[in-house]
């Protein structure tokens, strides 16, 4: 059923992913090369840099949309996200906003949603101070610029960090690049366990504009489970299968199951929590997740160049602790579109379908009528 005014859009795509290509084909779109005139470009992060670099001199026209904001790293690089959220909290506090309310221990009531985090090597001394206060806590080290669980390790002795302290002293004059900066965060050591196993949540958030903020939460997220029983004891610190839920890590484990891939739908999680913990607390958990998402986006909305040609689909990772409090762990700019299982494929296909429906309503050529296309908050 072709509607009048419905053009056969031209799309370019950097990724050979069936959940994307099948969606484009189903809409009767025409593939073109990224160098040609496209209306819709699903680019990887590398191409985005080229498109928006000053050298390329590329100017997006009215009928073009692209799937990343130029400086999305403000949200999606671990250290920058933490920096922005810390600043956002400070700003709200200065304003005297009720959101910045604190409890008797001096912790934010509504804005305490990322684990205590320091940059390394920059904040090394601050970290040491905090570490000495609670020497028995476990910390998790993550390289800033890497994804999919690469380079992550757990720390419970200062000696494991010698390298970063020395580095920070010798290289004082050359600021470290994102490659060798790390964030070190307090490890959530009381995660909610289901069937004795640890999990984290992957939720999808579509942002079509930062100013004003317009974001959409996808209903079909999932929980990713570790294959091995959770064990907080120190001698298991090296067993990454216990701690990291990244599918790319879990896949290497011998207990990985290819039928479900350790993934559980958010609906199942909700059913379980309502059944075992009650509806009120379950609703509150998901409410809090939604609010945390909004806060994290608000925190960067001033920094992101709000290019009207851009939209972005983020993969939000949350960990829930055993008090049913969610913690925002990180935001991914390019959540995996590889399908590990058949229900995964259906879920991601529908994600892309919904996303395109929002970004290009009625499959109309974007902004071709000269006005900015209609966006609606649901």
């Amino acid at each position: 059923m072709q509607r009048t005014g419905m053009a056969r859009l031209k799309y370019a795509c950097d990724m050979d992913k069936s959940v994307l290509l099948n969606n484009f084909e189903a809409r009767g779109w025409v593939p073109v090369s990224p160098d040609d005139d496209w209306n819709f470009y699903w680019a990887n992060v590398q191409s985005i840099r080229n498109v928006f670099s000053i050298d390329s001199g590329y100017r997006l026209t009215d009928d073009q949309v692209i799937n990343h904001f130029p400086n999305h790293v403000e949200l999606t690089r671990k250290d920058l996200m933490v920096k922005n959220i810390k600043r956002y909290r400070k700003d709200l506090e200065k304003e005297g906003s009720p959101l910045a309310e604190k409890d008797e221990n001096g912790r934010f009531i509504h804005l305490d949603f990322i684990p205590l985090t320091f940059m390394l090597p920059a904040d090394y001394n601050l970290f040491v101070e905090e570490f000495r206060k609670n020497p028995n806590t476990t910390w998790i080290m993550k390289p800033c610029g890497k994804a999919r669980g690469i380079g992550i390790f757990l720390v419970n002795k200062l000696s494991q960090l010698k390298k970063w302290s020395r580095d920070s002293k010798t290289n004082n004059f050359t600021p470290p690049t994102s490659k060798d900066t790390y964030v070190i965060s307090k490890y959530i050591d009381n995660p909610l366990l289901i069937g004795g196993k640890k999990f984290d949540l992957r939720l999808y958030v579509l942002v079509t504009s930062f100013r004003p903020l317009k974001c959409y939460m996808y209903r079909l997220g999932f929980a990713r489970f570790c294959t091995v029983k959770y064990n907080a004891s120190v001698n298991e610190l090296d067993n990454m299968f216990v701690h990291l839920t990244n599918v790319s890590i879990q896949k290497q484990g011998e207990d990985y199951n290819a039928v479900h891939g350790g993934k559980w739908t958010v609906q199942n999680l909700r059913l379980f929590l309502e059944g075992t913990r009650g509806k009120e607390v379950t609703d509150r958990l998901f409410d809090e997740i939604n609010w945390q998402t909004v806060h994290s986006l608000k925190a960067v909305s001033g920094n992101i160049s709000n290019d009207r040609h851009c939209f972005e689909c983020y993969g939000y990772d949350y960990i829930v602790d055993d008090n049913l409090k969610p913690w925002l762990i990180e935001v991914n700019a390019s959540p995996s579109l590889t399908s590990t299982t058949s229900s995964d494929r259906i879920m991601k296909y529908r994600l892309m379908n919904d996303l395109i429906n929002i970004v290009i309503p009625l499959d109309r050529c974007p902004m071709s009528d000269g006005t900015k296309y209609h966006r609606k908050n649901i």
């Binding site: 199951n257 559980w264 379980f272 309502e274 379950t282």
Partner: protein, 588 residues
């Protein structure tokens, strides 16, 4: 006293059973505590103690105990002799007696002159027995014979025989697996292994036993073949009757008509709001959800089985389900139960049984690969392994047509003194058994409570889904009900499927045997089981199966082979069961 089952004798046995149960000692202890309380006056001792007991919730506990008894104990199969029968069992003779105006009070004489001892007891051998026991019976004997124990299990001889043959077959296949793989039915674990297993108790799934050689003893498919093969030797009905059945079940047992089912499930009618439909997030909660939750909380606080049952007929709100179910099943886990579970666990640690491997294998084949249940894998072992050791489960065999299998100590085959029940609970698991437990994991996070709820559901309902009996909730009657309903209400569909060589029951049977667990999405299974518990009946299962066939009718009418039909019905996870049931029960 409208219910004939609540006869004097029934009440007597009820009271006796209650007196011998733990609740009686608990009650005595509670009463003693009440007596010692300072507020109780000697002059009003009884009143004071009673008030105290009621205050501490004992009236509810007693009511629930009686409710449980009524729900689970087999009703007498033969009615108790009515008092007029003791006078004269034949109606026309009673009438004749009445019209003649005289009422005979003396026993009629059977011999011209009754010897005096006959008035006491006409049968010589009973007189002798009486004499030797030294007592004299003065009461008239019951005119109807007492139900023989095997009749309580299954009144029809040919079905008893069929069940017996089926059990023999299962046991044979179990034994041949033992011989083939050269593994014993049971062995004692060495101390070291016991300790190791104990330390891994909550993560048994990680390193289970080697299962490559183990295969399930049977699957629903094999069981269906047996059921299809059963024939009533006393029944010579041929298919030329005026209502020929197109289905494959040939056992003539009575099944309910759609009108009876409509009455039975009248609370599910389309004009009544239901949990699971009208509380969805798309509907404003003021319309139904708020009131429903409020009422639900009241019901939960009342803590009375029948109330919970009445409420749950319209489905349980998901946050109250766990409590409502344990109230309907009268499961309250106390310290004794916890201790008992620990004992079962210990006996798992001490001995390694072949059924353990069967259970492991079943979990690995079903739940572990299921994207809704894989997270609960370890919970399933913590329930299933102790279950196989639980001799309390044996009690349900008094109503189950099945009989617990026997095994013999090595070298003493066939010698009764050396026989043991195997496995200790008498239940040999089949392919899919673990799925009876899996949906419950969404409700109970504590393996011990999970265990007792499962045990109660199994011994009340699910055992009927894999034993041959004429009970109206047995799998035979449920299968027949499915076929009759489908033939009556979807004749075109049934005929088409039959013509292309696809008997509908061949597809639906596995759904019935598993009570749809693993076929529907998890929330839908729970909504369906709400109704099983609330209406105290499994008959909702064939109703849903028919509804699913009706719902996919358009596509099913296009298929030309069994495989194509199976493909149309392969994925049921998108279905909403309550609207479907309503559609098939109330729309026509």
């Amino acid at each position: 006293m409208t219910d004939p089952n609540l006869s004097k004798i029934f009440m007597q046995t009820l009271i006796e059973d209650l007196k011998s149960s733990k609740i009686f000692t608990d009650l005595q202890n509670a009463a003693q505590i009440e007596i010692t309380k300072p507020g109780v006056r000697l002059s009003e001792l009884k009143k004071g103690v009673q008030a105290g007991l009621i205050h501490s919730g004992w009236d509810k506990r007693l009511k629930n105990a009686v409710f449980k008894y009524l729900q689970t104990k087999p009703r007498l199969q033969y009615p108790v002799t009515p008092p007029e029968h003791a006078k004269e069992p034949l109606l026309y003779l009673r009438k004749a007696q009445k019209s003649s105006g005289k009422v005979s009070t003396k026993p009629r004489l059977q011999y011209p002159v009754t010897p005096p001892e006959h008035a006491k007891e006409p049968l010589l051998y009973l007189r002798k027995a009486q004499k030797s026991s030294g007592k004299i019976s003065t009461k008239p004997r019951l005119q109807y014979p007492v139900t023989p124990p095997e009749h309580a299990k299954e009144p029809l001889l040919y079905l008893r025989k069929a069940q017996h043959a089926w059990e023999k077959r299962i046991l044979k296949s179990l034994n041949s697996m033992c011989t083939e793989l050269n593994i014993p039915l049971a062995r004692k674990r060495p101390e070291k292994e016991q300790k190791e297993m104990n330390s891994k108790w909550t993560e048994l799934g990680v390193e289970g036993p080697d299962l490559t050689q183990i295969r399930p003893v049977y699957a629903p498919k094999d069981f269906l073949e047996v059921i299809v093969g059963i024939q009533n030797p006393n029944y010579h009905g041929d298919n030329n009757g005026f209502f020929p059945l197109w289905g494959i079940v040939q056992v003539p047992v009575k099944v309910k008509s759609i009108n009876k089912l409509r009455l039975q499930y009248s609370e599910m009618a389309i004009n009544q709001c239901q949990s699971g439909i009208d509380d969805s997030t798309d509907i404003p909660s003021e319309l139904f959800d708020l009131d429903r939750s409020k009422l639900g909380k009241k019901v939960v606080n009342a803590n009375h089985g029948p109330v919970a049952q009445e409420f749950s007929k319209k489905g349980c709100p998901s946050s109250l389900r766990a409590t409502l179910w344990s109230q309907m099943l009268c499961v309250e886990v106390d310290d004794v139960d916890k201790l008992y579970y620990e004992q079962l666990k210990t006996s798992v640690l001490h001995h390694d049984l072949l059924v353990d491997s069967l259970l492991y294998k079943d979990v690995k084949l079903t739940a572990t690969n299921d994207d809704q249940y894989f997270v609960f894998e370890d919970f399933l072992y913590q329930v299933l392994l102790p279950f196989s050791r639980d001799t309390f489960v044996l009690n349900h065999f008094s109503q189950n047509s099945a009989t617990p299998p026997k095994s013999y100590i090595r070298g003493k085959l066939g010698v009764e003194e050396f026989s043991v029940l195997y496995p200790p609970n008498g239940v040999i698991p089949f392919h899919g058994f673990a799925m009876y437990v899996a949906p419950l994991c969404y409700l109970y996070n504590d393996p011990v409570i999970l265990y007792y709820v499962f045990r109660e559901i199994y011994t009340r309902y699910f055992y009927r889904l894999h034993s041959i009996s004429s009970h109206h909730q047995g799998i035979v009657a449920l299968s027949l009900l499915f076929e009759v309903l489908l033939q009556t209400h979807e004749p075109e569909l049934f005929f088409h499927l039959k013509t292309v060589g696809c008997q509908p029951l061949k597809i639906a049977f596995k759904w019935l045997v598993r009570a749809f667990s693993g076929y529907l999405s998890s929330d839908q299974v729970l909504l369906l089981w709400d109704r099983i518990l609330a209406y105290n009946s499994l008959e909702i299962l064939p109703v849903l199966a028919v509804a699913i066939f009706s719902f996919r009718k358009t596509n099913l009418l296009k298929v030309q082979s069994y495989n194509a039909a199976e493909a149309v019905l392969a994925d049921l996870t998108t279905l909403q069961v309550i609207p479907l049931i309503q559609l098939s029960l109330f729309s026509k």
